[in-house]
Amino acid sequence: MPEIDPTDHEIADLGPKIKDIDDADELREMLELEEDGENRPPVKTLIESRIEKLEEADAEIDPESVDLSELTVADIANLVRDIDDTDVLREMLEREEAGDDRKTAKGQIEDRIESIEGSDGEGEGAELEYVPPEEKHPDLDHPTADKQWVERLEDAEYRDMWVYCETQHGELIDVSREMLGKARQLMDDYNDRYGGDEDGEPEDVVAVLIGDSVGDLAEQVIEYGADRVVSFEDDRLDRFRHKPYTEIFCSMARAGGQVADEGHEDVDWKDYDEPRYTVFPATNNGRDLSALVQGELDSGLASDCSGLYIEEAMISNPAKTGNPGDSKEFERILHMKRPDFSGFEYSTILCIDKPFRDFHPQGASVIPGSFEIPEADPEREGEVVEYEMDLSDDWFGVDVTEFDTLDSGIDLTGHDVVVAMGRGIGDSPTEGIELGLDLVDAFDDAAFGLSRGVITSSYNFEGHVESYIGEDRQIGESGQVVEPDVYVAAGISGAIQHKVGMDESDTIVAINSDPEADIRGFSDYFIEGDLFEVLPRLTEAVEAGELATAVAEASDD
């Protein structure tokens, strides 16, 4: 049996885990498990490509003779990691310069040289000396509201993963349960891997509940995975309010430590300075709160994450190591993976201490729906802490005078046909959307969807078309998942996040002028043409019942 059964994990977690496995046979066993189990194509691809990679590596690349132009930059990065001889590296660098001269490839080799030389030179281990800012920059008179003037805590202690559980009308929202399940899994793995904190004590999942009558939810939160619940109730908090929610969360986070608020220096449920990790929902209010809390605690965060894992990180960024050329391993780092650049790339963000300044807690907000809701375990036990503090009237300057619940939005599921549009409409966005809507109208029961690319674009839509552009029509990983009888994808290139939202459709018809578009690989029909020409023809043909009529009419014009 392989160590990891892929069917127990979500796709986002498996990536880094699979990368760590170097035994191709073990991977093959995993592949079998996946095939017999959930049989998710992206998981299989992940495992297969890892096997392929290992087999290539087995072919033993000799750095002194290999043709660098045949290697990708990633291959070069892997190759140089195992080379300790700087002469070999320098010789590789020369060959790259003479050959493809790729900046990124050279960067990988140079970084490796720098990290080797840094480690025997004066760089590593060189004691960094603390210089107070007023001596370091005598020209500046150091403004700074207390928010800009923070230094490292002496012997700071950070522990546990704190999860802000957002509620609506007295109930946990789904993403709160999803985060608790994820946090449970992360901290179970953490405790297995590191044997708990530095003293061998297991670290916990701490759930935070703030609101009007949220205390009633404590039991539920424990059932979903929390070890401890810290709750605060006040009837002025029935709606989310930025200032008091931030102050309360931060007061809880600091309680019992060196920076505790007055009156909270000694609490029986916490004896560390601040949380090690914090997790918030990437909802409008949750994301705001995450930014404010992490700012107030003088730390950082990544927003809208879809994958989280904890492992060590080797960092050579001098802003973090203190010395150019040094590489330093940071332990127990929360790796926060998020779609970035309008969905073009995944970035992995790390929140890391620097010399003389701590950046803890390491914070993240997570996209709702990224993780599964765990099964509640009514047997689970946990500690419930009812936090008490005074709320200043000044914090309630922003007043919620009214609220209305909106209709549940647009449901793209359950229709016979879905017509979805992508960035192929770029030449004339308004017209493109109109053509898509015309096709929708030709069907008895069809819905109109969009790829994420259209929503994050800066297209200007005119007239009524604008009302069709919004996240509530997005299909894909962070949008809706549809399984119609027929899916028409017009001008959609077929990013993997889009595929997740539509690949269970019975028949997929893609229209794309780029014969190399990825969507071709998961379409049943690939109409290689311009959507501005093809869509009206399809509409006309569907309306007329057959294409022949449409063609005949068109040729009469």
Partner: protein, 298 residues
């Protein structure tokens, strides 16, 4: 009424503008910079305030000198009166917290303290949605985010706004906040000009600011040394002018770093697509046969 609007330049993500290197990474240098699309909603909110309440609008950004063109674009949109660029190598590679520190200090340095600060929601490149709230946290003002409509009541010294709340159900809240206040506009923000004189004023302002933006364009074209004293509506401040410690801004002041960027993996192929040439009627007909059973819209 003095408003400040924060804006940022981002790569132009429209089809055809984005450039990738051989590893599939975005090439920022080769992708043109434009004003962050979401900032336009903040600009519209500020413009509505200027048209309805009168007063001035300052537009502020942090970034390389090239962002002056972004400011010029913004000047046209918001009919801004003056422009501020916080620009310094020390400010480079800042994450949201270090950006917020810098922007907040820039706002505090203004001679005329603002009654309203406007920011957009996410940027098209970082997409964090954090910079607005964190800048407010440094300034400690009443904060109203995700604003979709806005009314200013100068007599009572308050703003009234509608804001969007997400969760298992979506809600719209009506909130009231004392001025000065910090407003983050939602991408769904809609300005309203109910009265005819507002529409007239709008037109007047457009004409005068067009001229001003042209003037700034000439200044940009003429003076490559970028002496900020040459054109009194433009001010550039570096970290020393802002009295900011370099250890607390830019990369050095940033809690977070980007450890890796992976191209999003390609979707694996699973279906054997029949490639259809749109000029081949017989092939197109097979597609239509798939669609025809669902016809019947009216």
């Amino acid at each position: 009424m003095h408003s400040v609007v924060l804006t940022k330049g981002v790569p132009d993500f429209r089809e055809g503008q984005v450039s990738f290197d051989e590893d599939g990474h975005l090439e920022r240098g080769k992708t043109p910079t434009v004003m962050n699309p979401n900032d336009k909603h903040a600009l519209r909110a500020a413009l509505q305030t200027k048209v309805r309440q009168g007063g001035t609008v300052s537009l502020m950004s942090m970034g390389p000198p090239g962002y002056m063109e972004v400011l010029q674009e913004g000047m046209r949109e918001v009919y801004a009166d003056d422009l501020y660029l916080l620009s310094d190598r020390e400010m480079g590679a800042a994450d949201t917290w270090a950006t917020a520190m810098t922007a907040a200090t820039g706002i505090q340095k203004l001679d005329d303290p603002p009654d309203l600060v406007f920011a957009g929601f996410k940027t098209a490149d970082g997409e964090t949605g954090h910079t607005g709230p964190q800048t407010e946290w440094c300034l400690d003002m009443p904060l109203v985010t995700h604003v979709i409509s806005l009314d200013i009541d100068e007599e009572d010294g308050v703003l009234r706004a509608k804001r969007l709340v997400e969760g298992d159900v979506e809600e719209i809240e009506t909130v009231e906040a004392p001025l000065p206040a910090f407003v983050v506009a939602d991408p769904e923000f809609e300005p309203t000009y109910r009265r005819a004189d507002h529409r007239l004023k709008h037109k007047d302002l457009r004409e005068t600011t067009q001229d001003r933006a042209e003037e700034f364009g000439e200044y940009l074209a003429d003076d490559s040394d970028l002496d900020p004293t040459d054109w009194d509506r433009f001010t550039m401040w570096d970290h020393a002018a802002l009295n900011l410690d370099p250890d607390y801004i830019g990369l050095d002041g940033s809690p977070t770093i980007v450890a890796g960027v992976d191209p999003i993996p390609k979707a694996p192929s699973e279906r054997e697509a029949t490639v259809v040439d749109p000029d081949d009627d017989a092939a197109m007909e097979r597609v239509v046969e798939e669609l025809a059973p669902y016809a019947g819209g009216d």
